[in-house]
């Protein structure tokens, strides 16, 4: 900030480290004093919830982990909330990942948050999800959209064993599951374009229902599919996850994170207002921009 600058000019060219500290502190504040504001439910969250309510123990759903550890804060709570809903409904679940090599860590995190999901060899009591019978995990599958298309055509052409080396034909859940025709819903949780892949390769070709639990940024790119009837629902980032937690009645990480969302969004808006005041005051005084 040079000599002779007005207060408005200084405000317009504020050192970004001040902005970063302001954001850091405001993100930390809600953890000391939670706000606990109410949240309303968006139409797309309701739509996904209602669709899953039509499913039952004879249906199979694919949960596609298309986010890395880096996006846990935004994608994992929604992914867990939808998984919990599927467990409540008794729906069979297939987990796999086409995009991120660190998906094993994500699967571990999902299992840690849903105690009913029992791993291979773990005893399953009443109400638990027995591995191989009620749910299965195939790990990372390379190949992007090509693989998504091949999985739609014939799962056995791509997958020979599950993540733990069990041949696919020895997994009871997979007995009658061969292609996209045998899947009632694909829920794709993504930070990128994977929702598009499933719409193109599963919904358009086989009519399989598709839903997305994306980062908030992806919501706007996925909405055209929802409006065209090509998707049965979508969750908008951490807010969508909090809405879903409210819908299933199990409040979790998303609800806790909402305070940080509130404060950070408000801070950004206040900063933008300040920046614009500075801009107009500088322009009025004939400052150069």
């Amino acid at each position: 900030m040079g000599e002779g600058q007005t207060i408005w000019e200084k405000m317009g060219a504020i050192d970004r480290r001040i902005l970063y500290w302001a954001l850091f502190i405001s993100l930390a504040l809600p953890y000391i004093k939670p706000l606990g504001l109410p949240v309303s439910i968006a139409e797309t969250s309701y739509a996904l919830y209602n669709y899953i309510n039509t499913l039952g123990p004879n249906d199979v759903v694919v949960m596609s982990i298309e986010f890395g550890v880096s996006a846990w804060s935004e994608c994992l709570p929604g992914f867990v909330a939808v998984s919990k809903h599927l467990v409540q409904r008794g729906v069979k679940i297939i987990y796999w990942c086409v995009g991120y090599t660190d998906c094993d860590l994500t699967m571990e995190a999902v299992m840690a948050r849903i105690p009913q999901l029992k791993g291979p060899g773990q005893p399953a009591g009443p109400g638990d999800y027995k591995y191989g019978v009620d749910w299965v995990y195939f790990g990372y599958i390379a190949g992007g959209e090509t693989t998504v298309a091949q999985l739609a055509d014939n799962i056995r052409n791509v997958l020979r064993t599950d993540k733990y080396g069990t041949p696919i034909d020895e997994i009871p859940l997979m007995k009658n599951v061969n292609s996209a025709r045998d899947i009632k819903l694909v829920v794709d949780s993504t930070t990128g374009d994977y929702g598009d892949y499933y719409v193109r390769q599963w919904r358009m070709r086989y009519g399989t229902a598709v839903a997305e639990i994306g980062i908030a940024m992806n919501y706007s790119t996925f909405i055209p599919y929802y409006q065209a009837g090509l998707a049965v629902g979508a969750l908008k980032g951490i807010r969508g996850a909090a809405e879903y937690e409210k819908l299933i009645g199990e409040f979790g990480e998303a609800t806790i994170s909402l305070d940080a969302l509130n404060i950070s969004h408000l801070l950004v808006i206040i900063a933008i207002i300040f920046a614009n005041i500075s801009y107009f005051m500088t322009r009025r005084k004939g400052g150069v921009r």
Binding site: L23, V69, A71, V268, I272
Partner: protein, 219 residues
């Protein structure tokens, strides 16, 4: 012989045949063609895996140079780079024939060094968005003002605090996201798709000279 193999026409011919068959396989249910296209796709996936080696060699060329010349400020990082490639590689050698390598010295750095570092980097995005918004969102013109107001309303609508400020914010936010932005997003998607198809056609017929003259320089 090598100059014949490097002729642009050969690359164009291969690209044209693969493109034609792939399109045919997409539209028509002819199992033989679909099998061939699947083989092309598998082949391309394998090529991209081998390309990681090519990437390593390209990176190694720069890092060997740095180490040899003791490039100030970076040469010791180049040594770290080589060690972080070499140690897991040697540790994984005994398990190379297995379908997946689970040696801790191979998986531990990935799970507990590489992955958290990536996550930390991703987490910085919020800070960069904040400073970018502060710098860029200014009401310089009518269009910029409309964008600014719409952006603020969507942000408020995305956070529950918006409803506390004014209970109509979620309605406005829904309208902006479901109705306001959807036509624009559709138009962008459609035109980008058309752009890809036309670009592909230009490559196939050799009109995209900057890439289809690949190899024409000889040598």
């Amino acid at each position: 012989m090598s100059s014949v193999l490097r002729r642009p026409e050969i690359f164009m011919f291969i690209a044209g045949v693969v493109m034609g068959l792939t399109l045919f396989g997409y539209f028509f249910n002819v199992p033989q063609v679909i099998d061939l296209v699947t083989w092309f796709q598998t082949f391309a996936t394998h090529v991209s895996f081998f390309a990681v080696w090519l990437g390593f060699l390209t990176a190694a060329r720069i890092h060997i140079y740095n180490i040899q010349r003791r490039t100030p400020g970076v040469w010791y990082f180049s040594i770290v780079m080589f060690l972080s490639c070499l140690i897991p590689f040697l540790a994984a050698l005994p398990e190379i024939a297995k379908p997946s390598i689970e040696t801790p010295i191979y998986t531990w750095p990935f799970n507990w060094v590489y992955t958290p570092l990536g996550a930390a980097l991703y987490a910085t995005t919020g800070f960069y968005i904040f400073s970018a918004a502060y710098r860029a969102f200014r009401a310089r013109s009518l269009e910029a003002t409309i964008l600014l107001v719409a952006g603020c309303l969507v942000m408020l609508g995305n956070a529950p605090i918006g409803e506390v400020i004014w209970n109509q914010i979620p309605t406005i936010n829904d309208w902006l996201q479901m109705t306001g932005q959807t036509p624009g997003m559709r138009a962008l998607n459609i035109t980008a798709a058309l752009g890809i198809v036309y670009f592909g056609l230009r490559v196939a017929i050799g009109a995209e000279k900057r890439v289809t003259t690949f190899g024409a320089g000889g040598g």
